[in-house]
């Protein structure tokens, strides 16, 4: 059944980098739900490249806020 498949997919901790990038962007604008937040933590613990992107997306926001005279 496709419904079962969907449920199982939602419960796996695995997240690919592309999905992790989208969640890292979303998190800068609104709190993530419990499950997406947990899956993202899991992914970040294992993925150095995504940890860098997390820092860099935060930096982009702070640097943009500093735009001034």
């Amino acid at each position: 059944m496709s419904g079962d498949e969907l449920d199982r997919r939602d419960l796996t901790p695995w997240l690919d980098c592309r999905h992790a990038h989208a969640l890292m962007s979303q998190r800068l604008d609104e709190p993530l739900g419990t499950i997406p937040a947990w899956r993202l933590r899991w992914h970040l613990a294992l993925c150095e490249s995504c940890r860098r992107v997390r820092e860099q997306l935060g930096l982009l926001g702070r640097a943009t806020r500093n735009l001034g005279p």
Partner: protein, 182 residues
């Protein structure tokens, strides 16, 4: 308040206003209103911050007003058609990055580096209009997503997609033009 000192800020204010509004006439109007308001409110300036910082604060308010007028009078900007393919190109079909993100070094140091900030501005100028308006409204004007939706006329889903694309493009632009060049 020295009117000449205020007038000297005009080119910088115009550049910032153009970055956000993406429309010459609206940018000119917002800057003129800002300089006039600064002159009128000169007594309320207490010197807690530099004059330029205070004036940029006024400009941000004028720009929020201009954004609201823009969204009432103009149709919604469609996003540029090339962004989805550009973002697809960053990832392999299995969802991994084609090239791992590079280490940019200490964020605090980057924030203080004029060259980094100049490259960021150049990258912001190159963003497609719809992405730039939404990204700057969120991160420069510090509006909430709900406010950005209201002021831009985009749905929450659209705003979220535009912010994601803007962040991906900016990150790539900085990595290519600044990190790789230093």
């Amino acid at each position: 308040m020295d009117p000449d000192a205020l007038a000297a800020l005009r080119p910088r204010l115009l550049r910032l206003a153009r970055l956000q509004l993406r429309d010459e006439a609206s940018a000119e109007d917002a800057v003129s209103e800002t300089l006039l308001a600064a002159l009128e409110q000169a007594q309320s300036f207490r010197g807690r911050s530099a004059v330029a910082t205070w004036v940029v604060g006024i400009l941000k308010h004028k720009i929020v007003d201009a954004l609201r007028r823009q969204s009432r009078h103009t149709s919604l900007d469609a996003d540029d058609p090339e962004s989805p393919a550009l973002i697809d190109g960053l990832f392999r079909p299995d969802g991994h990055r084609v090239a791992p993100a590079q280490d940019w070094g200490d964020p605090e140091r980057l924030l203080g580096e004029a060259q980094f900030m100049a490259t960021l501005e150049a990258c912001l100028e190159r963003l497609p209009t719809a992405q730039a308006r939404v990204f700057l409204a969120r991160e420069w004007l510090e509006l909430s997503v709900a406010e950005v939706c209201k002021d831009s006329g985009h749905s929450a889903t659209n705003v979220s997609v535009l912010l994601f694309r803007a962040r991906m493009r900016l990150r790539e632009c900085l990595e290519t033009n600044w990190i790789a060049a230093t």
